[in-house]
Symmetry: C2
Subunit: 436 residues, 2 copies
């Protein structure tokens, strides 16, 4: 099957582990069966591949997330990059066009669209596979997965099926309701709409051409900025008459707040943390390399990263957004396609950064107008190019790059270095890329 | 008056702001009238000098604290350094001998002994001055300050005076009691013994020679290791018959736990911190340069430094000691006589440190056997000596020092640098000092 994983979202609700660059699906705080820590993205990718080894996965996302996706899944992952954010309908159209025109998929083949961030069991992906099979042979135009509700949530849209059978035609869709309306829907047999759909590629492309009008992927990409922001639900699902819903009763969670996210943790702590002195129902995630000691904490979540430290009552943690919006934000840690960086120290006229390069990767060849830089190699081997001159580098090597100097470094084995930036005007904008 | 300030103590109860090197009296979290943040040490020093501009202050302390005392008070402060820790009686004897034999004080002059860490109003120092006057002319051998108790504390020893007058002879001393005994003592008019005494220098030196037997300061210093660990209370005060107590009713607090320490804070936060979402009776001290966001915290104290992060219920915070003892401790920040250092990053075979040198100060001339080091100067000017060769340094300069290389750096203006240490065996012990 073809799977389009929708990767969007902003990073405010799970601050300080999420930020502008690292949305919640990239936070490594879930533990797999081998005891390895993984993100929602790597978990979902692993789960799909386990159920269908031949699945063709395309991640539909914006420019900001490409680096971290490649960092976590490797360079071979297929990513369909929106030039700017539009809603889910344009994003799915672009990914569908990418499937046909770039990847060569057949119009008869089934496509499953699924958000990247549900926290689910493997049975969920078996249901996706069933949904893909229905799209190919079931006769309707659109199949969606309806989650059996466990409480009258106000956070989800609802689907009301015509019957209570496992597979049923859809009677109607309902927007996110208040609690009373939700109870009423559930009494009518309603299911949660989790944004999971399957269709034949040709069906979606026909709808897309009707509504947008474009020739191929490249044409659509070029004109993407002109497209209306509209959701797939609104543009397609709610207008479709040949639509069925498949009932899904397995575990399905939206880990959107610290309160729900901490429930998915394996144990109460991740990273250096000690729960002492009568702590109760308290979770700690610590990405810093200093210990956290909690004493007498009750129903709390504590999260620490290079961006900041959150100490919150679990219930209160859902109200975090306005506080994070007001906070002066400097991204202190980011995963890039070539590795990662961590800001270690910020002074008035200098900044110190730890850079870790993945084997086989390098920085862009670039220069800065307003700052000098000094690299001290801590570990690993590779080669640097400084103003066109190539040299090999090893631990202990020091490279000084005055403003204007063009420079890059490639890692042969994992390479870590300390970069000291010096200048009165240090900004991320002061970076000019060059051809090597 | 001569004042001997006793500076001892370990750093566990106010972890992570205190550590092996930085005892509680050195933590900068009190705010003076000018709005400047100061430590207990600088506060007490300032208060004594305000009451008696001519006071001769000698700080009696151990080797570990000399650097931080000089960092906070400057090089001119008089410090009497015990070669190893003994109890208060040997420490006071050594400081008394230092006063006479090194500083040339008269045996007739009054000496006040006072711990460095009470949190008090200026009236306390007026009482010390009165105590000094009594020691010179009052006729008794020993005068002590008795604090009027505010509750039946089990933390302090008690003094029972003969009368309820402001100045009275002492009837007897009582060890730290249980709560019931404390109530009984208070009913008899008992006062807290805060360890504050005044005497003529000659009186104490006579007692010291009787009990220890020594010729002068240098003799006592040499034999310090042989001395019995014994408190001044036990060795002198409780055996003295010519002893009076002066009643003191002003504010007097022992800021020994986070609970009491936070009460002395001016406001609820120090450093980058936001109290949001219905926080109540919560204090935050943040020495890190990343923000702390608290939501729905009640009766809590949150403290963060390069050594770690404490998140504690205020009541529970008094039970911190065993947890801190178990914690793997690496000092991440230390104030030294020449400035300070901060550990920024620790890797398997490297460590990155920020070094800040005070103007006019330099490091020891030293070398390391098992590690290379690289300095990148961030700000300030000065000169470095590398294997005997002197060179001037400015921001952006890089100095590489392979293992075995002798090196030092002197700051002319405040000088900050990043030091990358590289080697398989990086330890504080690997340091050899050389003559320049």
């Amino acid at each position: 099957m073809n799977v389009i994983l929708l990767s969007g979202g902003s990073g405010q609700r799970l601050w300080p582990l999420s930020n502008d660059i690292r949305s919640k699906q990239f936070i490594k705080m879930l533990t797999n069966e081998k005891g390895e820590v993984e993100s929602m993205l790597t978990r979902v990718y692993r789960q799909i591949t386990a159920v269908d080894g031949g699945a063709g996965i395309t991640i539909a996302t914006g420019k900001k997330q490409v680096s971290v996706i490649k960092n976590q899944l490797g360079d071979r992952v297929k990513v369909c990059v929106e030039p700017m954010r539009r809603d889910t309908f344009p994003a799915i159209c672009l990914a569908a066009a990418h499937l046909r025109d770039v990847q060569g998929a057949e119009e008869d083949s089934a496509v499953v669209v699924c958000p990247v961030d549900p926290y689910v069991e493997d049975s969920y992906f078996e249901a996706l596979q069933e949904l893909a099979g229905l799209a190919e042979t079931g006769g309707a135009n659109l199949y969606l997965l309806g989650m059996e509700p466990t409480y009258p949530s106000e956070k989800y849209g609802y689907v009301i099926p015509e019957s209570s059978q496992r597979l049923s035609r859809v009677k109607t869709f309902k927007e996110k309701p208040d609690s009373a309306a939700a109870e009423n829907y559930i009494a009518q047999g309603a299911l949660w709409n989790g944004g999971v759909f399957a269709f034949r590629l040709g069906f979606l492309l026909d709808r897309a051409r009707e509504l947008i009008g474009f020739t191929d992927y490249h044409d659509l990409y070029r004109r993407y900025g002109e497209l209306e922001k509209i959701s797939f639900d609104y543009a397609v699902a709610e207008r479709e008459r040949e639509i069925c819903v498949l009932r899904y009763g397995g575990g399905w969670k939206d880990l959107g707040t610290w309160n729900t996210f901490s429930e998915a943790m394996n144990g109460n702590t991740l990273g250096r943390a000690v729960l002492g002195g009568n702590c109760e129902d308290t979770h700690v995630v610590n990405e810093l390399n200093i210990p956290i000691l909690c004493m007498g904490c009750r129903h709390m979540v504590i999260a620490a990263s290079g961006d900041g430290i959150l100490v919150s009552d679990k219930e209160q943690s859902s109200h975090i957004k306005p506080y994070v919006e007001q906070m002066e934000q400097q991204v202190m840690y980011a995963e890039k396609s070539w590795g990662s960086f961590t800001v270690l120290d910020v002074q008035e006229d200098s900044m110190t950064i730890k850079v870790a390069l993945l084997p086989g990767h390098g920085l862009h060849y670039h220069s800065h107008e307003h700052r000098d830089e000094v690299w001290t190699v801590m570990s690993g081997r590779g080669r640097a190019v400084i103003d066109g001159q190539e040299r090999r580098v090893k631990p202990g090597d020091v490279i000084s790059m005055p403003a204007g100097c063009r420079h890059t470094i490639f890692a042969e084995s994992e390479l870590k270095l300390i970069e000291v930036q010096l200048g009165e005007d240090i900004t991320v904008e002061d970076k000019r890329k060059h051809r090597l």
